[in-house]
């Protein structure tokens, strides 16, 4: 596409940009100044003003490619800010719940005892999972891998769910600021303020990331990060090689047993195994004290499995490429 004027080119570029009003104005001003220099250069070389504008805009590059590059950088930045904000909210919510459990809670919590104590525990875990995934995909992985993973869309969806999960927690926290001890009140006030801010960042990220949304598995990103980290030192590279070799051998020799821990090829079976492990691990302190609480561990395991069923696909832990995995040990196919 050729442009007969600098204004036409800048308008087209600005229309394609998803970088916010201020960013768009700044880019448009910079591009206009640069194009003015190019036009002056072309006119000095003997071209007519129209030909100079055409040549200048052609030299500057296709606006769609330029806008795509700006949009991608801006999307990553927005997603990163939203991930930090969500992590801060989760830390504040967990801190407030922890302080309340240690004795700073109001005598008569609003709206009632059950909501005050259960909401942060249940929804806080969902938010923590979402925050962890988003933080991994937008902060840790780009830093370790030196590139933006193809899972940015997964990260911002996880952020949105995490912030929405924290919204009722923030409402309950707001209703109890005045009647709680000062430390619990301060933490509750922080949650009340931080969650709406994180929601704004999350919405901004959602609006910007759709232009670069790509398919990708969080498991692939985790594997790439582990490999990159392992190859940084010779000892870790040797350890990584040993673990990989042992895993492959185990899959070949005991395919049915290993299917319970292979998340890529057998997501549902591995989800059951991980949920049971989570149930046992979360009740480990009680077990060490000799207080064996089997129903509580079973409830934790069931909650972890339900969480996987509800949020596994959203967090990129199942589906997508998993279906096309190469068979190992002669056992082909993948669970849905």
């Amino acid at each position: 596409m050729t442009y007969r004027s600098v204004e036409g080119y800048v308008d087209d570029l600005a229309w394609r940009l998803r970088v916010g009003m201020r960013g768009r104005r700044r880019i448009a001003a910079e591009v206009t100044a640069h194009l003015a220099d190019l036009v002056a250069e072309e006119e000095a070389a003997g071209h007519t003003p129209q030909a100079a504008a055409r040549r200048a805009t052609a030299r500057f590059g296709a606006p769609e490619e330029l806008a795509a590059e700006f949009n991608q950088d801006c999307a990553l930045h927005s997603a990163r800010v939203a991930a930090w904000a969500l992590v801060a909210c989760v830390v504040a919510a967990v801190g407030a719940a922890g302080l309340a459990n240690r004795g700073g809670a109001p005598v008569v919590p609003w709206p009632n005892q059950a909501a005050y104590y259960a909401l942060p525990v249940l929804l806080g875990q969902v938010a923590a999972m979402c925050a962890g995934t988003a933080f991994l995909l937008t902060v840790v992985a780009p830093w370790l891998l030196g590139r933006t993973p193809q899972t940015l869309a997964t990260a911002v969806r996880a952020q949105a769910v995490g912030v929405l999960a924290l919204a009722p927690v923030a409402v309950v926290a707001a209703g109890n600021i005045a009647h709680a001890a000062w430390d619990v009140g301060a933490m509750s006030a922080l949650v009340t303020v931080a969650v709406p801010v994180a929601l704004v960042f999350s919405v901004r990220a959602l609006m910007r990331v759709d232009t670069v949304a790509g398919r990708g598995s969080t498991l692939d990103v985790i594997a790439d990060c582990c490999e990159t980290l392992a190859l940084r030192w010779s000892w870790s590279a040797r350890l990584f090689g040993l673990v990989t070799h042992t895993w492959t051998e185990a899959v070949e020799r005991m395919p049915s047993l290993m299917s319970w821990v292979e998340m890529r090829r057998h997501p549902w079976r591995s989800a059951v195994a991980i949920s049971v492990a989570a149930g046992v691990a979360l009740k480990a302190p009680d077990l060490l004290k000799g207080d064996v609480d089997v129903p509580a561990a079973a409830v934790e395991a069931a909650a972890a499995f339900v969480g996987y069923c509800l949020f596994g696909r959203l967090l990129g832990l199942r589906g997508l490429e998993g279906r096309n995995e190469i068979s190992v040990g002669g056992e082909a196919g993948v669970e849905g």
Binding site: A29, H34, R59, F60, G61, D73
Partner: protein
């Protein structure tokens, strides 16, 4: 040099040019072209996403100023930008020396034997 190959090194090249002094986008792309003997002939706009990315990373600072009668955004390196430019320079030197050894090095005795096996 292909544009894709060039793009992979653009951030480092921008830092290297800015290490010689502050510049605006137009001056920067001219310097890239001149210093590369015309080999780096990218679309001129491609330098701006790199500049904005580097500014967000805190390696570059910018501000509007009047240059040659026109209002332009001038970019300069920050202290961490100077350190990053130096790091990239030394990384590139060791990398390019290794590539040169592979591409331009004489074939060793092992390579000769392998070559003979293939020929046979």
């Amino acid at each position: 040099m292909s544009q894709d190959m060039m793009r992979g090194h653009l951030d480092g090249l921008v830092l290297a040019v800015l290490a010689t002094g502050p510049s605006h986008g137009y001056g920067l792309i001219e310097a890239l072209r001149d210093r590369s003997g015309g080999v780096f002939d990218l679309p001129e706009g491609s330098v701006y996403p790199a500049l904005h990315r580097l500014e967000r990373a805190g390696l570059v600072a910018s501000g509007w100023s009047e240059v040659g009668g026109r209002r332009r955004r001038v970019y300069s390196l920050t202290a961490s930008g100077r350190r990053a430019a130096e790091e990239r320079r030394s990384e590139w030197r060791s990398f390019s020396a290794a590539v040169e050894r592979v591409f331009g090095g004489e074939a060793g005795p092992g390579a000769g034997v392998a070559g003979a096996e293939v020929a046979r």
